[in-house]
């Protein structure tokens, strides 16, 4: 592990970051949406494809052995990166959205012999929060619609946190599932996971943690956090698109019915009826994303080499610089708390009287790529009385210079629009 993170060394490994737009250099500040793939990740995938690619877990051929080793080796590496006690608790999915749907569907699918605590029913409640990404909200709305369960949510405070003052009346014996995000993809707020898990445990609710914005940005030990399920996406952590993970406690996964069904997840199939394999196979129907799992394992290697504590410290620095710089600009309102230990990673803001699309467009003309709109967190924006926001978000390869470019860029945005006042 290096003592400090050398963002410039990492940038050498990410070719896209060197590109420009007709002379204007690229400033990529949208890694919260998707990160860029370093050459080591691309190379690992290519190496696998050129030497070992085959259908995994099948029969008696050496290529199948090599590919199975690559796939299961990736599972072990990634599981250990997130602090999963057992690699068999990690299910590969295409993205975090599939992971969260997997849990929501499995808990609402029912079936013979599925225990009551793993079956949503009328009278049950599902608790989420008002800061969730649509991926951790809509699947629960749909699961409630299918089963007759009721959706409830924790509101937000004016200072951009979960309002836990009414938690006792929201999280009750009726709550079967409590699904919440580790870190808001808009506000940057980090939620008090252990406190929330303790409260959920006290009423016997299952906990589902959206770790999309935490696994890429800080050291994570899922066993330590105490949740029952966690979801994350490879493409947000320097890995490929098309691969992500659902981690779940083995004793729960082992009792849950499947979500997507088909080949490789079965035990016995007759025309009349099928029985299902043990986890994780039970939840990995069809030909898996083998080369992408290999790529994600290489991303995890790289992140481990850098050290996640270093990543967190680095991104904290970037966040602070951005907040300090943007705060000075007249008319800018930050959507999120001031810097502090419980906020990092993303800086969302609005420029008074200007729409986020227009702001983003003028930043784009300077090569600065940020995200505009509601960032798949529409209820959160509605809560704070805005239709959207402009968001800068960071990865280990971002530099303080890039943050300064953003701040300078926003000064220019203000000037640009002033012409038309």
């Amino acid at each position: 592990m290096t003592q400090h993170l050398d963002a410039n060394a990492l940038r050498e490994q990410v070719r896209l970051l060197g590109r420009d737009f007709g002379g204007t250099p690229l400033t990529y500040l949208d890694s919260g949406a998707t990160s860029q793939r370093p050459e080591s990740v691309i190379a690992a995938e290519m190496e696998y494809l050129r030497s070992a690619n085959a259908a995994v877990k099948r029969g008696s051929s050496r290529l199948a052995e090599l590919s199975t080793d690559a796939y299961e080796g990736a599972r072990e590496k990634i599981a250990s990166f997130i602090g999963a006690p057992d690699a068999q608790e990690l299910v590969f999915v295409k993205n975090a959205t599939e992971a969260l749907n997997l849990v929501a569907y499995s808990l609402s699918n029912g079936g013979p012999g599925i225990p009551a605590h793993l079956t949503l029913r009328e009278g049950d409640e599902v608790l989420v929060t008002e800061m969730e990404h649509h991926a951790n909200l809509v699947p629960w709305q749909e699961a409630c619609r299918r089963t007759g369960a009721t959706l409830r949510w924790i509101p937000l405070t004016d200072d951009f946190r979960l309002d836990l003052s009414q938690l006792d009346s929201l999280l009750t014996e009726k709550t079967k599932v409590f699904a919440f995000t580790h870190q808001s993809n808009v506000l940057g707020t980090i939620n008090p996971v252990q406190e929330l898990v303790a409260a959920a445990r006290a009423v016997g609710a299952l906990t589902v943690l959206d770790t999309c914005q935490s696994v890429p940005h800080m050291p994570i030990d899922l066993a330590d956090l105490g949740v029952d399920f966690a979801a994350f996406s490879g493409h947000k952590m320097l890995g490929p698109t098309g691969i992500g993970g659902l981690w779940g406690r083995y004793e729960l996964l082992a009792q849950m019915p499947p979500f997507i069904t088909g080949g490789s997840m079965i035990e016995i199939v007759t025309m009349e009826k099928s029985t299902y394999a043990e986890p994780p196979a039970r939840f990995e129907a069809g030909t898996p994303m083998v080369s992408q799992a290999v790529g994600l394992a290489a991303a995890v290697d790289l992140l481990s080499d850098i050290g996640m504590a270093n990543v967190a410290a680095h991104e904290k620095q970037l966040t602070q610089r951005a907040l300090a710089g943007l705060r000075e600009i007249p008319g800018i309102k930050i959507l999120g708390a001031a810097e502090g230990p419980e906020r990092t990673g993303a800086v969302a803001f609005n420029l008074e009287g200007r729409h986020t699309h227009d702001v983003g467009q003028v930043l784009d003309s300077q090569g600065i790529q940020v995200r505009t709109g509601h960032h798949c967190a529409w209820p959160l924006h509605r809560r704070y009385g805005v239709h959207g926001s402009t968001r800068a978000s960071f990865a280990p390869y971002n530099t303080l210079d890039e943050v300064d470019a953003l701040v300078a860029g926003m000064h220019r945005v203000v000037e640009f629009f002033a012409r038309f006042n």
Binding site: G22, Q361, V362, S365, Q366, G373, H374, H387
Partner: protein
């Protein structure tokens, strides 16, 4: 700053953004739609009032409430101004020319005789991500006219026989 940016954001755009023509929702209308741009959350409520049947019908009023970027608000304002008082047939011709130019990524300059102030919106055609913003009110009008004409046909069931 890139000149394509300057060709998109012009005085006329901000004029319409700040003082949108025909804005507000008026009570006299044949049809109403609520359209959104799901990727950014922009919302548009628009109402249409026509007089007469078929292609010769007149656009009597377009009223709307638009939450969105400067481009989409200016677009609603300019379109309403272009269509009100014109025939449905004329609006259709303008629409086709404008949509074609808008989707051309800057290769089709549009027919200025037809689309008039709409030319000011074409700066966005070089930014495929923004074409949706500009077209939002135009798509709303397309839905509105279908509904309004259907309503007029039901209101005047003899129309077909009279013709």
């Amino acid at each position: 700053m890139a000149s394509s940016l300057d060709s998109m954001y012009t005085e006329i755009i901000f004029e319409h953004d700040k003082r949108p023509q025909h804005a507000g929702l008026r009570e006299d209308f044949d049809s109403e739609v609520h359209h959104v741009n799901p990727s950014c959350g922009d919302e548009l409520t628009m109402r249409l009032l026509i007089e007469g049947e078929g292609d010769d019908a007149l656009v009597k009023d377009i009223s709307y409430e638009a939450v969105g970027c400067a481009m989409s608000r200016a677009s609603a304002s300019i379109m309403a101004d272009l269509f009100i008082g014109k025939t449905v047939a004329h609006a259709k011709k303008v629409m086709e020319n404008f949509e074609g130019a808008m989707k051309s990524r800057g290769t089709d300059a549009g027919d200025e005789e037809l689309i008039e102030d709409g030319v000011a919106l074409l700066g966005a055609s070089k930014f495929p991500g923004r074409v949706k913003c500009v077209l939002l009110p135009w798509k709303a009008y397309q839905a509105l006219i279908v509904e309004a004409q259907a309503k007029h046909e039901t209101d005047a069931p003899e129309a077909g026989e009279q013709a």
